[in-house]
Each structure stands twice: as structure tokens, then as C-alpha cells.
Symmetry: C2
Subunit: 116 residues, 2 copies
DNA sequence: CTGTATCCTATATGATACTG
DNA sequence: CAGTATCATATAGGATACAG
């Protein structure tokens, strides 16, 4: 897997940026941080999230949850009941991300607020 | 500044999410991480960045730099010379952000790669 | 209750040509 | 050298109606 090309360093770095960008966009969706925050506390049903998050629509909530699920940041559990029940919960990856989010919060406290 | 409303907690939290989203989007631009990375090493001229970052156009580079500057993440220094010279460098805020970026990198190493 | 299907707008990104 | 202007495309976000 070693690339013996002159451009090796550039290729490797380009991959790293792509990775980091991917990680950022995984949580940068308009409603994702609030969804994750709620799931940090406990499992939520779809309707709970819809009622708790101000301004979000069914459509957007569904889409953000689907993306988070595809990225391994939420677990979706469907119960075969009538009426249907669906529960969303965090994953190991979500838990592991918490320190990073707090780090970003602390940075914002010191530097972000002064700008813009 | 204390809001004595029933919705106080929700309002406060909504502000926090808006802040975090702002912090994320400040560095989530397509070329921003690579720009910041280069500036972590040393000051760069516009043309250097343009030649060093593969795939970026003059137009996009200018816009990403302007956004970073507006957010306090790069310093732009214009020299009154012919031909013109413009140097971009990092700020205190940029330096302070490095641990957060590394934290995100480490998280990706453990959890991001397995998904998607 | 928990979605999906359409259609629409806003923003981000990009290609290309031109300029002090 | 370091941009700006213009036009075009891609993606994110949203309003509304309908469905299992």
C-alpha cells in the first residue's frame, strides 16, 4: 500500500483532509447536533424528537436521522406494533465524539464569540 | 439578561447549538482545513496556496480565505509593491483550534473509518 | 405514529474570462 | 500577482400533501 510516487506526501494529506471534512459534515447538518444532544441523555422516539426540537419538520428530521444512522451516529430500532414505534439512540461512536464537541465548545467560548 | 420565560432552557440550548453549528461551518468549507494546515506550518502567499492546494481555483481560494479572515481564522497582510504581494497567516484562534482538530482526527481513526 | 413523494428555494461550489 | 465579474451546477434545506 506504499505509493512510491513523487506526489506521495500530497496524496496522503489530501486523504486526511477528505477524512476530516467527512467527519465535520457528518455532524454539521442543521439539526444533527441537537439530535445528538438529546440522545446523549436518553433514547428518544421519533415523535419526541419532532416535538422537542423547535422548528424541525418531519421531512428534515427523517433525513437528518437517516444520515446520522448511515454514518453510525445513531441506532434506529423499529418495534412491530400498531401504532408503529421507532426509537433512536446513540452509539459508541456518538459517545466517543463528546469530548471533541466539548473541545469545540470551549474553543468557541474563548475565540469564536469575539469574531463576526 | 435573565429570561424569565417558561421556554428559557430551550432558548439557551438553541443558542448553544447555533454557536456550535457556526463553529463547525467556520472550518467545514471545502478547502479551509487544507488552508489552515498549510498556515500552521508557516505564512503563505496567495500564489503559494493556489499552487500547493490541488484542485482549488483562484475564485474559490479567494472566497475561502475571505471567509476565514472574516471569522478571525487567518490574517491577511497586503504589501504595497509591484507586483502585489499578499501574505496569509494563522491567528491565535487558529492555534487554539489545533487540539480540537486533532481530537476529531483521533475520533475518526477509531470510529469514522468503520462506517459508510 | 412514522414516515415518503414532490416540488421549490437558498447556499456552496465551480468554470471561465477579465483587471489594477 | 492577486484578485473580481459573470454565469452555471451541485447540494442542503424546506413546504406541503399523501401513505402504511
Amino acid at each position: 500500500m506504499i505509493k512510491m510516487t513523487i506526489a506521495k506526501n500530497r496524496e496522503v494529506k489530501a486523504d486526511e483532509y477528505a477524512d476530516l471534512r467527512k467527519a465535520l459534515t457528518m455532524i454539521a447538518g442543521k439539526w444533527k447536533l441537537e439530535i445528538l444532544w438529546l440522545l446523549y441523555h436518553r433514547t428518544h422516539r421519533f415523535g419526541e424528537l419532532l416535538r422537542t426540537i423547535p422548528g424541525v419538520t418531519q421531512h428534515m428530521l427523517t433525513r437528518q436521522l437517516r444520515e446520522l444512522e448511515a454514518d453510525g451516529l445513531v441506532t434506529r430500532k423499529v418495534f412491530a406494533e400498531v401504532p408503529p414505534r421507532v426509537e433512536y439512540s446513540m452509539t459508541e461512536a456518538t459517545k466517543a465524539l463528546e469530548p471533541t464537541i466539548k473541545s469545540l465548545m470551549e474553543w468557541w467560548q474563548k475565540f469564536g464569540k469575539a469574531e463576526s
